[in-house]
Amino acid sequence: MSADLNGALIDAAVRTILDNAAELTALDQAIGDGDHGLNMKRGFEAIAAQKAELEALPLWPAVQKAGMTLVMKVGGASGPLYGSLLMAMGKAEGDAVQRFRAGVEAVKARGKSDVGAKTMLDVLVPVLEALEAQADLGEVAALAAEAMAATKDMKATKGRASFLGERSIGHIDPGARSTQLLVTAVCQHLGEKA
């Protein structure tokens, strides 16, 4: 049971990152240092390579371990950011939504940021709020897409894109896009199971 869930979740997450790595890199070339797609690809390929090991674990320890893999393999800021999200979720107590809240708080702490700075938090926070309001998975995915698109008009105040100031406006944030891809993949996967 747990093996099914982990294995299929891993496949869904890895597939969406590999399929969209070129787009993530293109977004990052516009307002960052152009390595987001490559970094995420390296991290998620490392997770894919660990699939058998992760499947052998219960869900939350597997999530925590996958987070540590991202920290060690990604090579950019997104490693510790996504890694902190997953490690905090794995370590937290409570149901999936409570764990997700712990993960989002960990990303805020790691990135010293919050909503409105044109980052992955601009997708994570609305998704968390929707989950806490018990939105269904389809609504959550739609909201994530909307929140991702809304980063286009924001001005970056964190990360490399903040060096661009006003010039960061008009580009979707690559971290918001990768977060939305992963949220959508997880929602679709869970939706198919339900």
Binding site: G32, D33, D35, L38, N39, R42, V71, M72, K73, V74, G75, G76, A77, S78, G79, P80, L81, G83, S84, R110, G111, G159, R160
Partner: protein, 129 residues
């Protein structure tokens, strides 16, 4: 011999990190231990938590370690590496908010005089606006 605060230089580019370390040795001398690292886990531009942790380990002493980092992920990955150290070491490793090359030289010069970690960090951070 008295211990001095050590320096770790973390750049996206191993060439930048090595070059900055060379400048420190040239300008300050050998009495301050300097370690450097750069590059992502595949050897491309980026930073690597494991390499940063190893560099800290290489020069760690109880007087402390000052890290000089370049952009974005170098700082985030360095924070992560520090959090993975044993508890008693974490408070003795700090990231200086300063330009990487100038900060490394200033921090090392301060460290060479036997200053404590807070003074070494302050010397590097004087360079920041």
């Amino acid at each position: 011999m008295t211990q001095t605060v050590s320096i770790v230089i973390v750049s996206h580019s191993p060439d930048v990190a090595r070059g900055a370390a060379d400048m420190v040795r040239e300008m300050v001398g050998e009495e301050v231990a300097v370690a450097w690292c750069g590059g992502n886990p595949d050897g491309g531009l980026g930073t690597d938590v494991a390499k940063i942790a190893a560099a800290i380990d290489q020069v760690y002493n109880d007087k402390g370690v000052a890290l000089l980092v370049d952009l974005g992920g170098a700082e985030t990955n360095s924070e992560m590496a520090i959090e993975m150290l044993p508890d008693d070491r974490q408070s003795k490793v700090v990231i200086c908010d300063s330009p990487i090359v100038e900060g490394a030289v200033m921090a090392a010069a301060e460290a060479a005089g036997g200053s404590d970690l807070a003074s070494v960090r302050a010397a590097a951070e004087e360079l920041s606006p």
